[in-house]
């Protein structure tokens, strides 16, 4: 089961936002350059700035793929000479001894899959990062120091081709290392976790389920629309609960489901992972009962299905046709699945049938299961995401190496990666004031630094709103400014955690395109493009003799 809600990425909106930010950055950079050059060179300064910008565009349009690839090849050979591939030794050692750490941790089959898959993906991602980081950060500064770059810049190459060549070369090394590790990892997982021959195809351990999620809405115990279900006091508020044997319902609405896309060309399979909450012990040998009702609101069709017992924390696969050989609406008329799906909104109403017991549900807890993909598909998509992350690190390292010395470049890159990976959610919490994802109601009032300072002095807890008045308005304005600056800082650091799609693969889900692959691709290009420009201008303006 997923512990988060996968959100679909809106590409057009993302590109628009990106363009606006880039424009602002470009304007700010231009103004700063003009002002600095004015101060340094007098009135000749702005002219120099313009010359460099025009020159830059000429360079960019005259990029030669051949020269870049030649430089990439050079970089690749150089990296091999530096014994980069020794990382395989570490990798091999880790896998040799992985058995010590993983064997017998648990005997439960589902839990084992999670442990093994996340071990492999984490290991690969933690090993590839230092390789990418060290190689890329030390490449250019070493060349400058050893003056071997002179032999290159005196050739007819453009400076940005050197940057591109480095990036491509190191990326090629990255691809090689990642490729070998991922293949070894894949076969290791498959060998460690064989499926028993009598396993039903729906419950295979190594697979990639393709879910179609709907939108969720709730009805309260009186049958009236409600924002959420009941809160049963769980610290984790990801799920909200539906009371048994009342009119309370959780309703999932799906759009654009074509019967031909379904398993076996029309087999409707619903899969769920609900949480059970009992207010009294009841019959502990029976689990709580849940019933789906398939609804097509526009056609006024309601088809109640056979109820089933919920196996908590396990995959509850419900094949509609297999469980209900004859589908009938509530007046007893026979209905086809295709009638329900096509034309109008298709909904799945979920009710708990056990009196005074509750079932907890969140949006990703129920989905329509489309034909599965192979485990390899999901696994290699996760690997591709690790590759994207390594690529970003390479770009960042090469760019920082173009204006900093090796050790400083390493520290800078490491810092950006570490903040982006370990502290991004903390930064986000600072900016938005939302402290805990699983508890949406905890939101700090006046999360800015000035308000916080006042609260410390005045002994006000974060939940108490400020009074009206000039003083508090000033605080609010200052906080607004501070938070905007913080917002900008937050977005300087890419969110490296989003490249970690282990949770999908380890939970036997396919890595979805719109929710995981697309935003990561967009993020990679969104950040790398300006970085490369920075790298180009740094190298163009840099005096190579100053080591």
């Amino acid at each position: 089961m997923l512990t988060f809600d996968p959100e679909s990425f809106n590409l057009i909106e993302g590109v628009q936002n990106w363009a606006v930010v880039m424009l602002i950055l470009a304007v700010v950079a231009f103004i700063t350059a003009v002002v600095v050059s004015l101060a340094a060179l007098g009135f000749a300064g702005p002219w120099q700035v313009l010359t460099h910008i025009v020159g830059g565009f000429q360079d960019l349009f005259g990029t030669s793929l051949r020269r870049s690839l030649a430089l990439a090849q050079l970089t690749f050979r150089e990296a091999l000479r530096r014994k980069t591939l020794l990382v395989f030794v570490v990798f091999a050692v880790l896998f040799l001894f992985a058995g010590w750490f993983l064997a017998d941790v648990t005997a439960d089959a589902d839990l084992q899959v999670k442990n093994y898959v996340s071990f492999v993906l984490r290991t690969i991602s933690w090993l590839i990062l230092p390789v990418a980081l060290l190689l890329s950060c030390w490449g250019l500064p070493e060349d400058i120091k050893a003056r071997s770059l002179h032999t290159v810049v005196t050739k007819p190459v453009r400076r940005h081709e050197i940057v591109l060549g480095r990036i491509l070369g190191f990326s090629a090394i990255g691809v090689l290392v990642l490729g070998v590790m991922s293949l070894v990892g894949y076969f290791w997982i498959v060998r460690q976790l064989p499926d028993s021959p009598d396993q039903s195809p729906d419950m295979k351990r190594l697979t990639a389920r393709v879910p179609v999620y709907g939108t969720i809405s709730f009805l309260d115990a009186a049958g009236k629309p409600a924002e959420a279900g009941v809160n049963t006091g769980d610290e984790n508020m990801f799920r909200s609960f539906v009371e048994g044997n009342t009119k309370a319902r959780a309703i999932w609405e799906f759009s654009n489901i074509e019967p031909s896309q379904l398993k076996g060309g029309g087999q409707l399979v619903l899969e769920s992972t609900f949480q059970a909450f009992r207010t009294f012990k009841g019959n502990i040998e029976r689990q709580l009962l849940v019933q789906y009702t398939l609804v097509n609101a526009d056609k006024k069709l309601r088809v109640p299905l056979k109820a089933f017992e919920v196996r908590e924390f396990r995959r509850n696969v419900y094949d509609v046709a297999k469980e209900n050989p004859k589908l009938q609406d509530d007046s007893g008329k026979p209905v086809e699945i295709a009638d329900l799906l096509s034309g109008g909104k298709f909904q799945v109403e979920t009710a708990c049938l056990s009196s005074a017991q509750f079932l907890g549900m969140a949006r990703p807890d129920l989905f329509i299961r489309m034909p599965d993909r192979s485990f390899a598909a999901s696994y290699f998509k996760s690997i591709a995401n690790i590759g994207l992350m390594a690529f970003m690190v390479v770009v960042l390292g090469v760019v920082s190496g173009s204006f900093l010395k090796g050790p400083v470049a390493t520290i800078l890159t490491f810092f950006i990666v570490a903040v982006g990976r370990l502290a991004h959610s903390f930064l986000e919490a600072l900016v938005t004031g939302k402290v805990d994802y699983h508890n949406p109601t905890v939101q700090f009032q006046g999360a800015g630094p000035f308000g916080a300072m006042y609260r410390i002095v005045a002994h006000l807890t974060p939940g108490v709103p400020f009074e009206e008045g000039f003083f508090f308005r000033v605080i609010d304005v200052l906080d607004g400014l501070a938070l905007n600056v913080l917002w900008a800082i937050q977005h300087v650091f890419p969110n490296f955690t989003s490249f970690d799609t282990t949770e999908y693969t380890a939970n036997a889900f396919d890595v979805p395109w719109a929710e995981a692959m697309l935003p990561n691709l967009a993020m990679t290009f969104g950040y790398c493009l300006p970085w490369i420009l920075v790298g180009y201008f740094s190298l163009r303006l840099r005096e190579l003799e100053s080591k």
């Binding site: 089961m1 750490f101 648990t106 439960d108 839990l111 999670k114 984790n236 196996r311 908590e312 924390f313």
Partner: protein, 464 residues
């Protein structure tokens, strides 16, 4: 600088290294075990190793003296250099988050990583083992799933026990979880069955999980074995445990037998097996535990050694003697024997195990139990007959052993039987007679009737 060439310098360094190695090897040589020679020649004698190795053995400082050594654990601790504390704290935070997010696979593997880093920290084993067996198991709705997590907790304790063979506490935790969690939780009925026949039939083919029940016995028998090993560990290493007073701790192997007998009765088994369990428990209580010697744990009385098995007459005689010698109350042996007996309810269990091993008492229990079942079937005739017979025998036995008469459990069983008998008569639409067996108990414990009545009604709603 100096006149040596590069080669000469290297040779000097090598010579220095070799020189330094000699004392290190001499002091730190590992011991060589005695091994049989496969060729039939005389076995090699082994050696006690260098000075460091000898001292390590002398003062029990080697890690292997604590229990099994896990190579992964040692490797991790070495690899982390001085960052073990930080790594451990991060893992503990991870574990808490995973538990809150209900990521059980993650939690299970994080606990394993934590104990790799803290293999000899008793409280870590206690906390995480308890967490798995009690908290995580309660989160799952399916009884078989819950049982799985109880087993995970027991296995975790077992691992801790094997790695820390000198901690009696860990043997006790294995026993306590095997006994109490399986035998007394809400799911006791199912758990006790699962202990003999695991719900994971694909793996265990209807038998028990050998990791928790290697001898295919009752959970209380296994628990008793673990408690006994806890006691043996204390004897062997003279390490005291820190869970409870020593005289309570030492009573646990026999207490497991009492629990076994009680569980058999609760499940309606009153035959010879049950009577034998009680008879063995009586012998173990009075001859083994009762004869164990304990030093009175009070400053100034370190020389006073007592044991529990003292009859009422002996105690009286002891008191009279001490009275005559004008010994102050706090220094009287009789006073401490009485106190210790009271703390572990010694006299009650002595009488109880004795009486339960007698056939007539077993019959009384059985008749009242079967009467209750007849009542649930609305077979009032059988119920009334069995209730009367059972109550008569019960009263007769209690008159023989006066000290049990006012014990909570005894009174509850008696009053429940009276309520059942009365209900059967009411269902027959007859008047309840004024005189009946156990009338004395009924009158003496009027204040307890309302609570027992509630229990009686609860059982009617959910019959056993």
């Amino acid at each position: 600088m100096n006149n040596l060439t590069s080669l000469q310098r290297k040779l000097v360094y090598t010579g220095g290294i070799v020189l330094l190695l000699i004392p290190i090897v001499w002091l730190g040589a590992p011991p060589e075990p005695v091994s049989a020679n496969p060729t039939g020649a005389a076995p090699s004698t082994g050696s006690s190793g260098g000075l460091l190795a000898q001292k390590r053995v002398e003062f029990n400082l080697g890690e292997s003296d604590l229990g099994n050594v896990d190579p992964a654990s040692s490797t991790m601790n070495l690899l982390l250099l001085g960052f073990r504390g930080i790594a451990t704290s991060m893992l503990w935070m991870d574990a808490q988050k995973q538990q809150r997010d209900k990521d059980w696979a993650g939690l299970r593997s994080t606990t394993e990583s934590i104990i790799l880093l803290q293999p000899h920290f008793l409280k870590v084993w206690h906390f995480q083992g308890w967490n798995l067996a009690y908290n995580v198991s309660a989160e799952w709705d399916g009884v078989a799933d819950r049982y799985y997590w109880v087993k995970e907790g027991i296995k975790f304790f077992q691992k801790g026990r094997d790695r820390n063979a000198r901690y009696a506490e860990l043997y006790w935790y294995v026993g306590d979880t095997t006994g109490k969690k399986i035998g007394r939780s809400d799911e006791a009925k199912q758990f006790r069955r699962f202990f003999r026949s695991d719900p994971d039939e694909a793996r265990f083919k209807g038998g028990p999980d050998p990791a928790v029940n290697p001898r295919s016995v009752d959970n209380y028998v296994e628990a008793g074995e673990q408690f006994q090993r806890a006691n043996d560990t204390i004897e062997a290493y003279k390490n005291e445990q820190h869970i409870m007073a020593p005289y309570l701790f030492r009573s646990y192997p026999v207490r497991a037998m009492f629990d076994y007998g009680t569980a058999l009765q609760r499940e309606g088994n009153f035959g010879e097996v049950c009577q034998n369990v009680w008879a063995e428990a009586f012998i173990a209580w009075t001859t083994k535990f009762g004869m164990m010697e304990f030093v009175v744990d009070v400053p100034g009385l370190e020389n006073m050694v007592i044991h529990m098995e003292v009859t009422a007459e002996e105690l009286k005689a002891m008191m009279a003697d001490e009275n005559a010698r004008n010994i102050p109350q706090s220094e009287r042996k009789s006073n401490w024997v009485d106190r210790y007996q009271n703390t572990c309810n010694y006299r009650y269990w002595r009488t109880r195990s004795r009486i339960e091993s007698e056939k007539e008492m077993a019959d009384a229990h059985r008749e009242m139990y079967e009467a209750e079942q007849a009542l649930d079937r609305a077979d009032t005739t059988t119920a009334r007959k069995l209730y009367l017979e059972g109550m008569t025998k019960y009263e007769k036995k209690l008159n023989e052993y006066e000290e049990l008469k006012n014990e909570d459990e005894t009174v509850e069983e008696g009053l429940l039987a009276v309520f059942g008998w009365q209900r059967a008569i009411e269902l027959d639409e007859e008047e309840v007679p004024d005189e009946f067996p156990l009338k004395e108990m009924w009158d003496a414990h009027a204040s307890r009737r309302s609570t027992v009545k509630q229990e009686f009604e609860r059982r009617r709603r959910a019959p056993r």
